[in-house]
Amino acid sequence: MSSVRAHSCVDCRHFNGRPLDVEQALPGLSSLSSAYAAVRSGDGICAVHDRYVAASSVCAGYTNLP
């Protein structure tokens, strides 16, 4: 878990990895799986790219949390 780098998505203000928000954003996810599942790891949704990305990802649009 220590592989998450500085300035990666998990620390970006555009990234949302909160389980309930992820389930709300992906209808059907909680029917046969879960955002609390280990397989999801720390993935979340990037509001800038509108992509579902790994927490350890990086991009040029990184913005620090306020």
């Binding site: 203000r13 949302n16 059907g28 996810l29 909680s30 609390y36 280990a38 949704i45 579902y52 990305v53």
Partner: protein, 465 residues
């Protein structure tokens, strides 16, 4: 969703930590809850007692008066069991971030309805009218959620995966480790053949139809490895668009629900044995919860439907070996490999992932460890008993009560599947993703059928005996 991320200034994610995972992931909570129940059961058994008083389950009944009498006689036990489940699952839900004050009323309602369905399934005419508990729970839930809609206050209690994983850990207590060691390699070989072929068919069909490779991979693992869990794991690993993940989820859920009804029906018409049918369902269903609903339904036919050989538990056992041991445990490997390919071979998206072998462990479905530990512990406890003594002492005093708790957990899950599946909220999938996925479904079902009923049939039949 963009609004969700943008409007808030609070932190919307938590930095991953190996220790935090132990209390923030439901896989681990399924282990803590399941193994605690197993440990208490063993401790009581070792001291001449049993958890069977609290692990109460309905018995066969023929008239409503019989069922009412059962309820009256065992009312205190059902109330105690409700408290046990509410406390165990409630602590886990609270640790995951679900408010206890919202979870408990929802769970109480779920428990009452699940109990009614469990009772209905024990009616001596239930099989005649196809009133198998998994199908009734699923059908009732689907009917409510897609007509009047499940009330909002019920939503915090509808945690399909939390219940199904807890049930799978308890299922380990009924499967000797020796059986897993004997059947596991065959399950892995059969599952590997089907997974690779199905993934290849969906992926290349999708690419041929002009779909994006990230969508193709997300669809492929959704169909070939572990359903919705596979789709979200790979969607995240390759950085798929949000709508692509939604499309994959919609297709997996719809086909998985269709298969819950179709696979047992076809297997029943062909009089497949419970072991063979369980293996086929394990090869060709897409999600654990959906597959267990189908397998438990089929197990219920044993002894009730003429011409179906094998014992009732064989369907669930064969399914679990095939799906959990054969397919689920490899999701981390799929994620790592596809992440590597996406990063090095596919077009750039603006978001860069860094594939690492650690991904294999991070995405590993940890509840499988609980399943294996439960199996190992019960195998050790049973070691000193011969078969007759096992049937006379260990089964009723230790294993059967844990199996009853497992059935409760599964019933919570089956009811939750229906109540959380709202077809009108699903993403519009489009024709090309539908065709690509459906081609894969057809190949998956046919190949799974041939492998289960022809190539490895003798093996799966023996499991049922």
């Amino acid at each position: 969703m963009a609004e969700i991320a943008e409007h808030a200034h609070a932190r919307l994610s938590i930095r991953p930590s190996a220790w935090r995972e132990l209390i923030r992931k439901e896989d681990w909570w399924a282990i803590w809850i399941g193994l605690r129940l197993v440990a208490v059961a063993i401790a009581l058994f070792a001291n001449g007692g049993s958890i069977k008083w609290i692990a109460v389950a309905p018995q066969k009944w023929s008239h409503l008066a019989n069922a009412a009498a059962q309820l009256q006689t065992h009312g205190a036990q059902y109330a105690a069991l409700c408290v046990l489940w509410a406390a165990s699952l409630g602590i886990g839900a609270a640790a995951l971030g679900i408010k206890l004050s919202r979870f408990l009323p929802a769970f109480l309602a779920l428990y009452v309805v699940a109990g009614a369905i469990y009772f209905l399934g024990l009616w001596d005419q239930a099989a005649h009218y196809n009133l198998e508990p998994p199908l009734v729970a699923l059908g009732l839930g689907l009917l409510i959620s897609n007509t009047v809609g499940a009330p909002r206050w019920l939503e915090p209690g509808l945690r399909v995966e939390f219940y199904i994983k807890t049930g799978i850990v308890l299922l380990g207590a009924g499967l000797p480790l020796t059986l897993i060691a004997w059947a596991g390699p065959v399950a892995i070989v059969q599952a590997a053949i089907v997974s690779l072929v199905t993934f290849g068919v969906i992926y290349f069909s999708a690419v041929r139809l002009g779909l994006d490779r990230r969508l193709a991979a997300t669809l492929g693992t959704g169909g070939a490895v572990c359903g919705v869990s596979g789709a979200i794991a790979i969607g995240g690993a390759v950085g798929a668009k949000k709508e692509q993940v939604s499309v994959a989820i919609s297709l997996v859920v719809v086909w998985a629900i269709v298969m819950i009804f179709v696979l047992p029906l076809v297997a029943r018409s062909l009089h497949l044995s419970t072991g063979v049918a369980g293996a086929w369902i394990g090869t060709s269903e897409f999600a654990d919860a959906a597959g267990l609903a189908a397998a438990q339904t089929y197990g219920g036919y044993a002894g009730n439907v003429p011409g179906i050989a094998g014992n009732a538990d064989a369907a669930v056992s064969a399914f679990t070996l095939m799906k959990v041991i054969g397919r689920d445990v490899w999701i981390g490997v799929w994620a790592f490999v596809l992440s590597l390919i996406a990063t090095t071979r596919w077009e750039r998206t603006g978001v860069q992932n860094k594939p690492e072998a650690g991904e294999i462990w991070r995405r590993f479905p940890k509840f499988v460890l609980g399943f294996l530990v439960a199996s190992a512990v019960i195998t050790i406890v049973s070691k000193g008993y011969d078969y007759a003594a096992y049937k006379r002492v260990v089964l009723p005093g230790l294993v059967a009560p844990l199996q009853a708790l497992r059935t409760w957990a599964f019933t919570f899950a089956f009811l939750s599947i229906g109540l959380t599946t709202k077809f009108r909220e699903f993403a519009s999938v489009g024709a090309r993703p539908f065709y690509a996925f459906t081609i894969g479904v057809v190949v998956n079902v046919l190949l799974g059928f041939v492998l289960s009923t022809q190539v490895f049939s003798e093996f799966w039949n023996r499991l049922g005996q």
